[in-house]
């Protein structure tokens, strides 16, 4: 599902965010991505979601080589990936329903189908009864769940989460993680960037560690360890 072949990313200001990163994540796998802040986690996720392009090496997502993709095509790829952000990235002037419906509207679904899917998605995260509310009146955990509902509404085969529990207390974090596990159980590939080591150790999933832009640990192949 995700394949990195000797990927490097250097920003225009000369900063090397990633250096020679290679790994692959199979369909249906769930993995964590860890590393100190500035280690290149966000850059790696941006490469997967085609928000950035690698300066060297190939990023292949679901069979598509993103390094060779045109901008317009990259938008279409993004529709097949569910993305969850630490700061939720909700539109505060739109209702919960409208926020979750956004990816479907963009993808061009009809109103009937949108309603059906948004309801299913909100039901999954336990927020169906709050569909008409504005995100501001929701708690941090609820806002994050709206973000998750939005990420899964288009039934993506791949879920990417950037510090999804960053602002949440341990109980809420565990709940969110449980949601991810549920998605993974039905075959969704999940990659979660986090620095919450406690959570990772509790879940025993495959873990990648980035240090200064280099992949130093891949718990599946110990030989990478620096």
């Amino acid at each position: 599902m995700i394949e990195f072949n000797h990927v490097s990313k250097r920003y225009s200001n000369g900063h090397d965010a990633l250096t020679d990163v290679s790994f692959s994540l199979d369909k249906g796998e769930m993995a964590f991505l860890t590393g100190h802040s500035g280690a290149g986690k966000s850059t790696l996720l941006k490469l997967i979601t085609a928000l950035e392009r690698s300066t060297a090496g190939d990023v292949v997502i679901g069979g598509y080589n993103l390094s060779k993709l045109k901008q317009a095509r990259a938008s279409l790829i993004r529709r097949s990936i569910g993305i969850i952000f630490q700061e939720h990235m909700l539109l505060m002037n739109r209702t919960v329903f409208d926020n979750v419906a956004l990816p479907l509207e963009i993808a061009g679904f009809g109103p009937h189908e949108i309603k059906r899917r948004v309801h299913a998605s909100l039901d999954k995260v336990g927020l169906l009864h709050k569909e008409k509310m504005l995100p501001v009146v929701l708690s941090g955990g609820e806002q994050q769940r709206v973000g998750i509902a939005r990420a899964i509404v288009n039934k993506p085969a791949l879920l990417i989460a950037d510090e999804p529990t960053g602002n949440l207390d341990p109980v809420l974090s565990a709940e969110i993680m449980q949601l991810f596990e549920e998605f993974n159980r039905v075959g969704v590939t999940v990659l979660i960037a986090t620095h919450n080591l406690l959570l990772i150790s509790a879940m025993q999933n495959r873990t990648f560690n980035l240090t200064h832009g280099r992949l130093t640990i891949d718990s599946d192949s110990e030989d990478i360890a620096a």
Binding site: K27, D123, K124, K155, V186
Partner: protein, 338 residues
Amino acid sequence: MTRYSQRHHEQIASKASQPSTNRNRHSRVTFSRRVKTYLAHHKQSMIQSLKQLAQTPIASIITLMVIGIALALPFGLYTILGKLHTVTQGWDTTAQISVFFNPDIPVANAQLTADKLNDDKRVQAVKIIPAQTAWQDLQASMGLVDGNQILPNNPLPTTLIITPRSTLGAQSLEALANELKQIQGVEIAQQDIAWVKRLDAIIELARRATVLLAALLGGAVLFIIGNTIRMTITQHQHEMAVVKLMGATDGYVRRPFLYTGVWFGMGGSLIACLIIGISGYWLAPALLQLFTLYGANSLEAPAAILDMLALLGIGMLLGLIGAWFAANRQLRELRSEG
């Protein structure tokens, strides 16, 4: 887990087990559905952008006024120039050249010259007034029964009234008049060249000034709309970023802003039409007086509606272009920020 989400979950699972994610995913939205949603998004962008303008009425009205005035100036001048055209139609008669023959020359000779001139490409019409006819006309207009009682001989020469083609410039007119003087038997070939030259120069100057003014103010409208859209975009930066993250194409993100630009252009044009209409009403008597002095007899502007429609079209186009540049700039920035 409710039955609802169970089903959804199974759908996700079945989806994930399919070999190629993207191709299958997009084929789930049929082509006709996509056309429908594309049109629906146009409609939504149209309404949404209008609502946004209405949310900040004062700022919107100020912007519209500025655009309106900027558009009204060149178009107002253009309208006046259009009315000047009615004067240049009167020019046809004013610019006639009168050729007076020597009284000794027989009418037949004058007729011969007239026939030749009729074949000249520069000449539109030639009217011959034989000396005898001219004399009779003069007597009639003076109320004389028999003019010969006062003057024993007809004092008037045979005259050719030559109407040059209206496409002829002042210089060619002068050349034609000079040629006519060379014809044997012609005593005088006379026309008011200075007047034609003066009018020509004024119209040309006004035309150029209007084009220049239109270009400058058109550019100003572009910048005004571009800048206004840029400010609107700054307020919606977050929204743009989110929509882009959800897989929206540039076109999707740009659309509402393009409509904002078109609305500004359209509203500004309508205000410009209003300004031109009111000023025209106020200036009309003065213009009519001036034009009458130059020999025009009406102030009719035949294509006023068409002019206004053109103004509307140009205004909307300028709005669209200005918004396009502003939105693209923002999209580029989004891309570089990631």
